[in-house]
Symmetry: C2
Subunit: 534 residues, 2 copies
Amino acid sequence: MTNNLHGKNIIAGELKDGGTEGARAENPATREQLEPKFIHATESEVQQAAEQAKEAQQELLGLGPAHRAGLLRRMAEEILALGDPLIERCHLETALPEGRLVSERSRTANQLRLFADLLEEGSWVDARIDTAIPDRTPTPRPDLRRMLIPLGPVAVFCASNFPLAFSVAGGDTASALAAGCPVIVKAHGSHPGTAELVAAAVNRAMAAEKMPPGIFSLLHGPGKTVGIQLVTHPLIKAVGFTGSRHAGRALFDAAASRPEPIPVYAEMGSINPVFLLPGALRDRGMEIAGGLSASATLGGGQFCTNPGLVVGLDSEELDAFVRQAGLLFQEAAVETMLNTRIHRAYQEGSNKLKAVKGVEVSAEAIGVSEVDGNQGRPTLFTSDGQTFLGNPLLREEVFGPSSLVIRARSREELLRIAATLKGHLSASIHGSEQDLQEYSDLAALLQRNVGRLIFNGFPTGVEVCTAMNHGGPYPASTDSHFTSVGTAAIYRFSRPACFQGFPDHALAPELQDENPLGILRQIDGRYTRDPISG
Amino acid sequence: MTNNLHGKNIIAGELKDGGTEGARAENPATREQLEPKFIHATESEVQQAAEQAKEAQQELLGLGPAHRAGLLRRMAEEILALGDPLIERCHLETALPEGRLVSERSRTANQLRLFADLLEEGSWVDARIDTAIPDRTPTPRPDLRRMLIPLGPVAVFCASNFPLAFSVAGGDTASALAAGCPVIVKAHGSHPGTAELVAAAVNRAMAAEKMPPGIFSLLHGPGKTVGIQLVTHPLIKAVGFTGSRHAGRALFDAAASRPEPIPVYAEMGSINPVFLLPGALRDRGMEIAGGLSASATLGGGQFCTNPGLVVGLDSEELDAFVRQAGLLFQEAAVETMLNTRIHRAYQEGSNKLKAVKGVEVSAEAIGVSEVDGNQGRPTLFTSDGQTFLGNPLLREEVFGPSSLVIRARSREELLRIAATLKGHLSASIHGSEQDLQEYSDLAALLQRNVGRLIFNGFPTGVEVCTAMNHGGPYPASTDSHFTSVGTAAIYRFSRPACFQGFPDHALAPELQDENPLGILRQIDGRYTRDPISG
């Protein structure tokens, strides 16, 4: 296994190891170092990758959407063809169970194919044509045609918690390449070997599809050096990131203070509040306790959509819910967390919560782990509305398998709690139809602050589809206009361009009279797939 | 006239003058002060306006798109009903000719109606529905429905150069209200009386349509105090601005460094380069000289799309073009500029250009103005490629009626000049069909850096329509994803929200099974206006 990994940066298909610094990955279950050392990219290598990306940009555009779709499909195949060695290395680096990794790999391949489908259908470019009106007075109207074009080279940061689906060939890379943007990936220090294996698959796909090699590079190194160099490089035009609020904000700030600011799409997680309304607690309290415990402890609680806060009216039904959820938290598996830093942050966050007067540990998992490294113990906390409202610490995400249940004294206090919440990826409401009517103000209030509002469901399990919105108001993300999951993620990396008065043959096929691609367009404000009659 | 103006801030329909500071507008033609004094908003009045906007947000949403469309139509009517007094005051404050102001008023009304049309058609919300698949394995797919919702209260800054179409009820306000966002307008110090008159019309329209008064306020005061207070207010969620790069960047920086960063849509103008290719110069040189001179001197050259740079191959045909354009610049009217500051900046910019070695004044308008205030003299400069490439000053916008013609030594030098250009609102290419083929690399290069690429036309005259893109890469705008002109401007002020598992009756009409509004939606990835069959 080790012998197959070279530990070098991959720039436009070539291996580069000009640097002297480097680091090994760590097995989070045992804290053992894993071979080989991964060489950090030098500033000149960052420069090379950016220049290669810029050079490749025009060629990529010339190849057209069908060609890009072919690349994405081939990438899916090549990643699946990596077989067991990918899963094994990835498990060593992340401690994520092999079953989870196999399904994450399927998701990764499916994402790539979903964007290929989108390109082949073609209407995503939002083509708009206003035909000329030469005899209009006082001035004629020119012929105006608009479509989306690529922003330019994109820096993609691998995410610790999704080594495949949000990493080298994950959703950010898939949507950026689909939009026609070259990609430079910064590997995550926790799973650089996984990154190298996937990058090799990407390079095989690119060679098979005769793509310009500059459209893809993989760099290793710390976020504070290599990451910031990428984000502040003048040739980089956008950034995709999934991770902590601290790191995401640092990238956002660096990008916003450039001479030419660029967009950073940072998805920074949230506590995903869950509201339990009286009818639901009465009718299905035990069932909801089961769903919540499963959602909160799934994958070591290391999902951006992990439900970290539960709010209900103080009642016998809520007491019964807490008891039942507590039993399930006690029985939950004590899993190894993704890395030592994340484990330490979970410990610290939990300890801070425990120290707050008015916060109680209602239940802790009793399981014993077979290994002794970075195991995170599922914990269910409880508190009351007054404590929550008086202590901003309770609104902060504790990344890991814990949830905090708040007993609200009244409907008013429950609404006050909802009103204090900042932007979240999701919020969930459990209720009967009658609850939903009686608490319509709660739904209206939450809608303003979240990317996705869920009724009688749990936030984990983010469907990759057309209607998904995985994002939301700050600090859930740095740009609430866009989702990082689903087909609409492509809009992060494209922008409109308008062509005025061009002859038909000089236009992209999407804008030509005949509509050779058969896409849906707006012609003189009307949606149609018809050609323009001469 | 004066007696009809109160000079107060208008907050949610109420007049407020708690402040002690204030300023009068100035007649730019004569530099005389115009009555009355306009009282600057206090910080507590900014706070009141923001709170009223937040309060009104939910109510506005509840009223639905048809109601918002009704408001926009009524606003158009009320603005037209202001009649001559509006045009007279606006002319006094801006020195813009009455004919131009009458047509700008029509444009303003038409913009409002265009957004009303968009709301009534309804498909702009980009509704996407992925229906549930309860029997999918290993996990069922939930019902997911996504549409665009309003961002929240928006701060709109009036533009000096469009006192009607980009001011109190201009494109930013129209698109923000259309999206469902309350608006707080900051008046421009050059035309506060125009602002007050239009705001009164807006308030009459709001009363007639029974709108919550908090959705609209008008504040007076400097950008550095009242403007920054607005942009940094926690309840403000987006900003629309048209003006200088300096002011736009200051607002962008203030918004990006907030605890919760918000988007600033600053359209900051550009020099809108025009490339003259050999065939066009040969076939239509004199005609192009006429079009260029008209475009460059129109409205005192005070359009964002003013063509400030012209590039052609050094040749007899280019010499003839310069001679002809020079004659037309000599004959061009010497018009009063919008205000003293803009006039001074034009003088300074022109003087800086004149001082550059290798830059020549090819022609200046010879006309004499009837008044003696802030008159800007149309000026045609010439220089060569080497001087241009060696001097970054020549790439800076000089806002006013001047153009700089660059003689490029070769095709390569012309392309090098194109490659040095940063983001622009537009670029224009004049050429024969053969030119366009031979210079396809020029078109490809320009496309990357501009919002709109024009063939055989001139950049002024920005059509308000579906396909327009008025924006582009920085520094043309701070967010190249969006246009500030045309129907797509609404997307600046809306964001997606996803609703998972909600019963049909609790969803907005746009997302209900029956599709009661008959809008175009994506259902399971397919575009259709059909209802969902049960």
